[in-house]
């Protein structure tokens, strides 16, 4: 039994003391999930080949899956393994994403808490935040580069901008849904607002906050790549995407390799958040990382 959600769990008899979720079962469930994931990837590759075959698209526009994968083993003009080249650039993007995600999380938690705490702040701030999310990031990115330069600050600002919103909404909604009776419980102990936040509101909201964090994690990678795209960065997946696109006529496979790498990086970020959630939430997590 890897799924232990609150509502449907069997009630133990008075005598029973068993809390069963043995390591072996969890491991088997994990392996099963990985197999399903691999199976879905194979399906995706098959669909790609099917679409290529049915529409009769040429190798230049849609290279074969195996050709794309084979290109990962090639060597760059700097005499470097192409996979290693991608990993290095992905690492640079990952660092920027992580910084943005952390700053965005802190910012999102703070905003979410203030929105939940004060109707006044919530009513005034929430529409502004939603409106800000409607601004396409690509539209304001050039202005940010003019103000802040092409360095890490711009990357952080853009990724923070993309990541704080889901965290804000999840935090605010999570805290707002704390039952009145739980508030009253803490009230009868004379708990301060700070204590209530620490012992009741944050723990209560944390499953929802982690859902927000998952979305934010995916956005953080998108944000970092967008920030690297046109603005004179020297490394990062955004830069590789741009150069691969420019040299698409001579080597179409490179673009698909870096796209694939971006997907993998996004997946690593989301899965890492789920892993943290799995350990942080204990029996309240869905019990599954994948």
């Amino acid at each position: 039994m890897s799924k232990t959600d609150l509502g449907s769990s069997p009630v133990l008899s008075e005598e029973s003391e068993d809390i069963s979720n043995p390591i072996g079962e969890r491991l088997r469930a994990g392996i099963r999930q990985i197999l399903v994931a691999i199976f879905l990837l194979v399906i995706a590759a098959a669909l790609w080949e099917l679409a290529k075959f049915v529409t009769g698209t040429g190798d230049r526009t849609m290279p074969h899956v195996w050709d794309i994968l084979a290109f990962l083993g090639s060597t760059t003009s700097q005499n470097e393994n192409y996979t290693w080249f991608l990993v290095k650039n992905a690492w640079s993007t990952a660092k920027a994403s992580l910084v943005g995600l952390l700053v965005g999380t802190v910012f999102g938690l703070t905003t979410g808490i203030s929105i939940a705490r004060s109707k006044f702040v919530g009513n005034g701030l929430m529409p502004l935040i939603v409106a800000a999310q409607a601004v396409p990031i690509v539209a304001i990115a050039p202005a940010l580069v003019l103000w802040l330069g092409t360095g890490g600050v711009t990357k952080t600002v853009i990724t923070t901008y993309l990541t704080f919103f889901p965290v804000t909404v999840a935090t605010a909604r999570g805290i707002q849904s704390v039952p009145q009776e739980s508030h009253e419980l803490l009230q009868t102990y004379g708990a301060s607002k700070r204590t209530s936040l620490r012992l009741l509101e944050i723990p209560f909201a944390s499953p929802l906050i982690f859902v927000g964090l998952e979305t934010a994690a995916a956005f953080s990678v998108v944000g970092a790549i967008v920030a690297e795209l046109p603005f004179g960065s020297k490394e990062g997946l955004g830069v590789v995407i741009l150069t691969s696109w420019q040299f698409y006529i001579t080597e179409p496979r490179a673009l698909y390799c870096v796209a694939l790498t971006s997907c993998v990086l996004g997946a690593i970020f989301v899965l890492s958040v789920r892993l943290v959630a799995y350990f942080a939430l204990g029996p309240r997590s869905q019990g599954e990382v994948l």
Binding site: L6, S9, V11, L12, E14, E17, I19, E181, S182, E184, L185, L186, Q187, T188, Y189, G190, A191, T195, L199, L200, P203, F204, S206, L281, G282, P283, R284
Partner: protein, 264 residues
């Protein structure tokens, strides 16, 4: 100021509470006079919406009275709360699902700033008292409704309060579980000699537990009758078979019928 023995326990004098809402004002409580002596067990029984819960919430400082005076062990409810004079047990167990049973019981102590070893030890003692010592490491969802409510009682007792305010604590439980928990509560009360204010819908429960029963009418919420329950303590399963028990049940039922007649 009167002597200390007179100020201990629960007191309400000419207590009134009016709620204002869009649909008009509701007089939840009117001119309620109530006294629960130290170590007494008072049940309040009345139809739904008669203000019994409001009365208890006034004692537990969750509701501010509109008029009249109210005291817990001679203190205003807010002061009494600060001095940990009372513990509250709600209708639902109100446990925090992410905390283990033990850490649910330590919650009030944690808010007070008691250090971890002390609060764990106290909580374990309280869990032993309610017969759940071996469930300390479980999570609430692994316990039945009755067990969860016992955890809630242990939690209310963990600060060692001299007054226990219980708002229909067994209302959501089945008859068999409720009877068993009534026995448990009598045993615990015998060990602690706390003052208890107990809200209930059940006539037999009120008669079985209380030393005195206050019958309330609704709209406005008033105490219409006080019935002394002169059944011997300690009460046990035989108590329910005594003829006096049945006489009292009939008397309380009559008082309730009269109370609702007053209301309509």
């Amino acid at each position: 100021m009167a002597g200390e023995s007179e100020t201990l326990g629960l007191h309400a004098a000419k207590l009134g509470k009016r709620f204002s809402s869009k649909g008009g004002d509701v007089q939840a409580l009117e001119e309620v006079d109530l006294e629960v002596k130290q170590g007494g067990f008072m049940s309040i029984i009345g139809p739904s919406g008669c203000g019994k819960s409001t009365l208890l919430r006034a004692f537990s400082d969750l509701v501010e009275p509109s008029t009249g005076e109210i005291s817990v062990n001679g203190k205003m409810p807010a002061e009494a709360r600060a001095a940990r004079e009372f513990g509250v047990v709600f209708q639902s167990p109100n446990l925090l699902p992410w905390r283990t049973v033990l850490r649910n019981v330590t919650l009030p102590l944690q808010v007070m700033g008691v250090d971890r070893p002390t609060r764990n030890q106290t909580a374990l003692e309280m869990l032993e008292l309610v017969g759940l010592g071996s469930f300390a490491r479980h999570h609430p969802w692994q316990l039945s409704g009755g067990m969860q409510q016992r955890v809630a009682i242990a939690r209310a007792l963990s600060t060692n309060p001299s007054v226990l305010l219980m708002d229909e604590p067994f209302g959501a439980l089945d008859e068999i579980t409720r009877d068993r928990l009534n026995l448990e509560l009598m045993r615990i009360w015998g060990q602690l000699s706390a003052t208890i204010l107990f809200i209930t819908h059940s006539i037999t429960e009120a008669v079985f537990l209380s030393s005195q029963i206050a019958v309330m009418s609704s709209r406005p919420g008033r105490i219409t009758e006080l019935i002394d329950v002169n059944l011997p303590y300690p009460r046990n399963t035989e108590t329910r078979d005594m003829p006096e028990f049945y006489e009292l049940v009939i008397e309380v039922r009559r008082a309730l019928v009269e109370a609702s007649a007053v209301a309509s």
